[in-house]
Symmetry: C2
Subunit: 192 residues, 2 copies
DNA sequence: CCATTAAATTGACCATGGTCATTTAATAAT
DNA sequence: ATTATTAAATGACCATGGTCAATTTAATGG
């Protein structure tokens, strides 16, 4: 007989997430230790892994959740009408995604789902981001020779590239803003 | 007195690399274990870490070396004159970079150096790739409204995006080739 | 209310990358 | 040659993520 999920289960899971969030608040993402989480949540280590496939799965949920809330904001604004406005709109997302090298790497690794069954929060937000940006592009004076879908995917590629390069000591003289501007000008409004 | 590097040192290092290469040949990159490498090389574990900062540093050297050899080939060919030719030229590189998810992730993570002092093989090859592609672009009928540098960086962004998306179960219906084509057409020869 | 079954929890244990005080070997100084 | 000095190698040990057989707790049926 299909037994329903126990209240206990949800409580335990909530306690684990809450403990993790609190520790992240204190010390950031990278230094989070499973050991500390279970200690703070008052559970055994094995319980953690009964609730999350691995440590990354917890991170996917927490980080994915943050991104999703940032996308809620993006979904509400008016479509940016030029490149500087577009960049400005995307900045909060960029700032969070690059708040730690560890966070960016994890986001990148989880931006695509390895299998259909394991589409996580982060992978979902990447799809949602494309949709939102597509919506913008339908109401903005950018190139019309290619689909808004392709245009949005290209923007995502440049966004990721700008953030990745920003972590590189060889190239981090330019801010993400300044690096992104020429890319997007060339992509969205080519002058040929 | 500046003491020169002992022959012994070079030999040990060479043995470690040779052992790793052999094991990778057998079982691929991901399943390589430091324990196995030192066993095969006949050294203690500590010796490994006296020669390489960590396991990733060895991977950076081996993977970076492979990429560099592929770039040697790319440096010699004639500049591709259209998008399909360009994609074809880049395919060997793509194939190696995506031979394992683990390899691609490591490449991505090391494509930028965290600090000037730690520029590794992979980061170096990324710079070299830009240079080679820039050389191509100077001799090909693509858009001229932006610098070859920017154009080459954009190509790199699309290349990485196409490879990343290829690992995603949601989007891997298209081959890297087919995914890259519309991107590069739109980037290199915009029709506005 | 007890017996049965399934879900949830536990913690000892494992796998693996990485550290470091100690030992051994090579080179330079006398 | 002998000693002093520096480089290289060693392996016991640690840190941390992850596993799993055993136990406890909750739901279900008679």
């Amino acid at each position: 007989m299909a037994r329903q999920i126990q209240k206990r289960t949800l409580e335990t899971r909530a306690r684990l997430v809450a403990a993790a969030e609190a520790l992240i608040e204190q010390n950031g993402f990278e230094s989070l230790r499973v050991e500390e989480v279970v200690l703070k949540a008052g559970t055994a280590k094995g319980t953690f892994f009964a609730h999350f496939k691995d440590k990354d799965a917890l991170m996917d949920q927490i980080i994915g959740g943050r991104i999703d809330r940032l996308l809620d904001d993006l979904a509400e604004i008016q479509a940016p009408q030029n490149v500087p406005e577009t960049i400005e709109a995307l900045m909060p997302l960029c700032e969070f995604m690059t708040c730690e090298r560890y966070v960016f790497d994890l986001i990148y690794r989880y931006s695509g789902a390895a299998a259909i069954e394991e589409i996580g929060m982060i992978a979902t937000t990447f799809g949602r981001q494309i949709e939102i940006v597509e919506g913008w592009l339908g109401n903005a004076p950018f190139r019309k020779d290619i689909s808004t879908g392709l245009l949005a995917e290209g923007m995502q590629a440049f966004l990721m590239q700008a953030m990745a390069v920003n972590f590189c000591a060889l190239h981090n003289a330019l801010s993400i803003r300044d690096r992104l501007a020429p890319y997007l000008e060339a992509w969205l409004t080519p002058k040929v």
